[in-house]
Amino acid sequence: MTMLSERQQLSYIASQAADARLNVELETEGMTLNIGPQHPATHGTLRIIARLDGEQVIWAEPSAGYMHRGYEKLTEVRTFPQVTSLINRIDWLGSFANEVPFILAAEKLMEIEAPPRAQHIRTILFELSRIANVGLFLGDLGVQMGAITPVFLAFRDREYVLNLIEGATGGRFHPNFDRIGGLKDDLPQGWIDETRQVMKKLRGFCDEIEDLLFGNEIFQSRTRGIGVIPADVARQYGLSGANLRASGVDWDLRRDQSLPMAWDKVDFKVWTHPDGDSWARCWVRLQEVRESTKIVDQLLDTMPAGPVMAKVPRIIKVPEGEAWVSTENPLGEMGYYVVSKGDLGPFRVKIRSASFNNISITPWVLKGVYVPDIITILASLYFILGDIDR
């Protein structure tokens, strides 16, 4: 390592001083409260350090990294097919959706496309993971507010979706099903009919949650007007997914970019909400789950026949180049920037995860709110720790 320049030394000292500031517990004005890393509210090990004045937050700072697994370094020592099994675990609730952008980036570099049937099935599984992920969000929303019943309903209905994913891929949580050039296998018999049944059930679940939770006056008074994020701030921070759409920005990567997936073959509505508060974010997600069930129904109706795997060599060497692919994942925009040097494995993979940007806005949005509102805002921004920390 070369000698640190003066600027680097100064920045190192500044970082040490900032660390020391955070660790001082004995404050004369205000109380410093640590929410997490072990806490029922945070979806994993997120630590929020809040300086309070009574019940009001003066500043709050999330401290991520308790779950950092070093994915970007790990991908450098793996072959391309092996990376798939690794990146399943970034957003572990919407698991299949993590694999897709990476596979698409590798296919872009290899200049091959998966056959139409494989694209269709990929899209269906993608939307199923969105339903599984955001369905749990709807239940978890209740628990953060204190309504302990909806989360059990959410888990129960999520089981149906997980059974479907398991039936098709063999894995409930980490399917590891996508391959460069297509999919590992075709769908089992009877899967399509069962999926149609499950989609009906899920629409019923959405109605139930809307009645139980969204129609509740207490829930509305807890979420309306809380944590308003205007559209330009949202864009600056790179907020994505439902968070961006709830601030009024009409941007959905399924519709607004062309990828070799089957979204351009179905009709769906992109839901936005002008308010930008927590209520808007929750409401947009609810509508998106409903919309996903309709997308899956349309895809099932128009499923083409054919092979599920294109002709790829046994040992995959991706040609030299760089590719960036991002998709509309359940949590937001997730993308992979793949740099390949023509080897068996990638040279550098930059994982752009949605929750990293979504949570980077919390210092800005948490100024001046009450302590219960911290939980509300975090719940409505919706993050998965594996997505923040990779």
Binding site: M31, L33, A41, G142, G146, S221, R222, P372, I374
Partner: protein, 351 residues
């Protein structure tokens, strides 16, 4: 009181029976509430079964839990104020026991018969606030402190609607003695028809609602469970407690729910009686002795119904934020209860 059963029991026997009766009156409702509503009703509402292993249909689960808590290590945090820390749960539990002594279970099955029973009950109900606040502060834990402070604000705010709602009942009954209130309800008539007596819930409906909401807040149950706010403060003021002390808080919470439900059934639902016109009784001396056995059972039933409603609301609603909660108490409930008193007084004078 036991003399009516034609059995001569010496004074110490009577006192012993009173003590046992008091313990049963507090712990039995608590246990039944915990099992029936917390374990079973909540589970069924959440599409799961609840405890099934301990005993048939999990009925022994409560004993298993009690045993579990009793054998845990007695931990006092190092920075905590040890004496206050240990006293706090006792304060909360003792206030519940003190509250149950004034509730009549039958024409002669009562512990004490204060002429200002209502006044005493409401006053003692506020003692637990001290216990909670002290528990939060002495735990040397910021979460507990936040929970304790929130609890203090909330409980004091909701004392007022509770008291004011009861004032309407007192005006209507014309007495603060709980036994008299029961008699007034069971011997009363509605426009000359004495078919169901005159439970005060009919005319004091607003008062009943306010009382039930205030009770929900006094018990720090959802939607008023900011002090415990499980997803924020872990357990609020109870965070640092474990073992037997936590058991005292736990029992205190559900026992208080039962006792407040008993008070509500005395004040609004007719207490231990069923309409006396069915039996032709006019005064309390005419009531038969078997009512001393049936009275507690009737009270138990009424208490179960009310507690079921309390728990049902607890499982369904999200929680209020602290300032919304206070606003609701001061700006909505108190004016409403004052209006209730005014209307009751006017009607009492006019009619």
């Amino acid at each position: 009181m036991i003399a009516q059963l034609a059995v001569e029991i010496p004074y110490w026997g009577q006192s012993l029976l009173r003590v046992v009766g008091g313990l049963v009156a507090v712990l039995l409702p608590a246990g039944t509430i915990v099992y029936l509503f917390l374990f079973k009703m909540m589970s069924f509402m959440q599409s799961r079964l609840g405890p099934m292993e301990a005993g048939p249909f999990g009925s022994m689960q409560l004993f298993a839990e009690v045993g579990k808590w009793l054998q845990k290590e007695d931990i006092v945090p190092e920075n905590a104020d040890a004496r206050i820390y240990k006293i706090a749960p006792i304060i909360v539990l003792v206030s519940t026991f003190l509250l149950v002594v004034v509730i009549p279970f039958g024409p002669d099955a009562w512990f004490t018969n204060f002429s200002a029973g209502v006044f005493y009950a409401l006053a003692i109900g506020s003692v637990s606030v001290i216990g909670i606040l002290v528990a939060g502060w002495s735990s040397a834990n910021k979460y507990s402190l936040l929970g304790g402070l929130r609890a203090a604000g909330q409980l004091i705010a909701y004392e007022l609607p509770m008291v004011l709602a009861v004032v309407g009942v007192v005006i209507q009954a014309g007495s603060m003695n709980l036994q008299d209130i029961v008699m007034a309800q069971n011997t009363g008539e509605i426009f000359g028809w004495s078919g169901i007596g005159f439970p005060f819930v009919l005319t004091q409906f607003v008062g009943f609602l306010i009382f039930m909401i205030a009770v929900q807040a006094e018990l720090t149950q959802a939607p008023f469970d900011m002090p415990i706010a499980e997803s924020e403060l872990v357990s609020g003021y109870m965070t640092e407690y474990s073992g037997f002390r936590f058991l005292m808080f736990f029992i205190g919470e559900f026992a208080t729910a039962g006792v407040f439900a008993l008070i509500a059934s005395v004040l609004f639902l007719g207490g231990w009686g069923i309409p006396f016109s069915w039996f032709g009784w006019e005064t309390i001396d005419q009531v038969d002795n078997w009512m001393n056995i049936a009275g507690p059972l009737i009270m138990f039933t009424k208490m179960m119904v009310l507690t079921g409603i309390i728990m049902w609301v607890r499982f369904s609603y999200p929680r209020f934020r602290e300032d919304q909660l206070q606003r609701f108490a001061w700006k909505v409930l108190i004016p409403l209860s004052l209006a209730n008193i005014a209307v009751t007084a006017i009607v009492k004078v006019v009619v």
